[in-house]
């Protein structure tokens, strides 16, 4: 039971990579937290009150005070609980880590969403564009076990989006967006991630996740017709 003086609550969603990355960070640091599953189609008063600007999950509530935006939350967690640091110490290394995190969220994620949401020629273009972006990530992994270097770091946590969301959509979409022949380093990195207990514990269970992605894809296709 968490002490009253350290009440940590996460408003999240089980299938969201943005929510899961916060759980990874909290679990890595051994911070006990209460998870509150949110229905994003019917937003709770607490969510709307805690994130009035964006009205989105995840939101971390620490002793009742809300923090929104997953990258901001990750840095807050790192600033608040000093064990098992997520970001490197050196300012230059930190700047690089922040750069790649944004790259994943602003470039890879946005482009990869089109793979799921589009069909035909548009989908093919999205696959190509995603691969071009991932080639940059591939280069970063040469000679490293993790994007953070020898151990799991900020960029790895953010890039679980690639490992366990983007790559899982391949099954549903029926396109090998990230084939092993083209991306051996990324595949090796995913294996390394799966060896980490915290990761295994915090990613959504595969079967349910695939069902969810399938359902979402159907609803996206229906919307675009």
């Amino acid at each position: 039971m968490a002490e009253r003086s350290e009440e940590v609550k996460l408003l999240g969603m089980w299938a969201s990579p943005f929510s899961r990355r916060v759980e990874i960070a909290l679990t890595l640091k051994g911070v006990p937290y209460e998870f509150s599953e949110q229905d994003i189609t019917n937003k709770s008063p607490l969510l709307l009150q805690s994130n009035p600007v964006h009205k989105m999950i995840p939101v971390l509530l620490h002793n009742g005070k809300p923090i929104s935006e997953s990258l901001v939350i990750l840095e807050y967690i790192d600033d608040t609980w000093k064990n098992n640091p997520i970001l490197p110490q050196d300012p230059y290394d930190r700047a690089i880590a922040r750069f790649w995190a944004r790259f994943v969220d602003e470039q890879v994620y946005v482009t990869a969403m089109k793979v799921v949401g589009k069909v035909g020629v548009e989908r093919d273009a999205a696959v190509e564009a995603t691969r071009d972006l991932l080639k940059l990530m591939e280069k970063e992994l040469v000679g490293k076990d993790f994007l953070g270097g020898e151990s799991l770091g900020f960029v790895d946590i953010v890039a679980t989006l690639v490992a366990f969301w983007l790559m899982r959509t391949e099954e549903v979409v029926g396109v090998k967006v990230v084939p092993v022949e083209m991306f051996p380093e990324i595949h090796r990195w995913v294996k390394n991630l799966l060896d980490v207990d915290v990761i295994k514990k915090c990613i959504p269970p595969e079967d349910e996740h695939l069902d969810y992605i399938r359902a979402r894809m159907e609803s996206l296709k229906l919307k675009s017709v």
Binding site: I67, E75, Y76, D79, P91, A95
Partner: protein, 219 residues
Amino acid sequence: MADEVILLDYWPSMFGMRTRVALEEKNIKFDYREQDLFNKSPILLEMNPVHKKIPVLIHNGKPVCESLIQVEYIDETWPGGNPFLPSDPYQRAQAKFWGDFIDKKVYGPTRLIWGAKGEEQEAGTKEFIEMLKMLESELGDKTYFGGETFGYVDIAMIGFYCWFDVLEKCGNFSIEAECPKLIAWAKRCMKRESVAKSLPDSNKITKFVPELKKKIGIE
């Protein structure tokens, strides 16, 4: 060994202005190198191969990309003087949240205001005013976004001020009428040497926008 600091920038960029202000605030000597974005230089392509965009901060040969990342890097690398970010983790998170908000929500509509017409432009104007009001509400009656000291969110936002004139003309609205506290804040910031040195005159931006539109092929 003296620090070598180079900034690859483009004079009207409100993002580049952030980095200029940050460097000036810390009294860091830097080599400002104006870039031609329609004919990108080898150094720009080499130092920001991923995005090929300005601003790029090059410190002793090593590039840092993305303006807010640069602002934080400058704060962490040269910790003297007033820190841009508060030391309290919660306050830091709030500052970063608003910096992110400016990037995600404020910039986009400005492009519609000067770059689009008709309904699109109107929608951009409406959205922009809404976002400014949110910022103004966050500012409240404080001197700066961070309170008494000029910091991260002020740096993130101030570059937009020199664009206000052209935005008002294009969108046919008055920012002062909509957000008087924000204008008062901007005028306070303009009194700072770092800001006055780093922002071009509003009328330069206003004259520049029609030329920019021609260059990128919008009428």
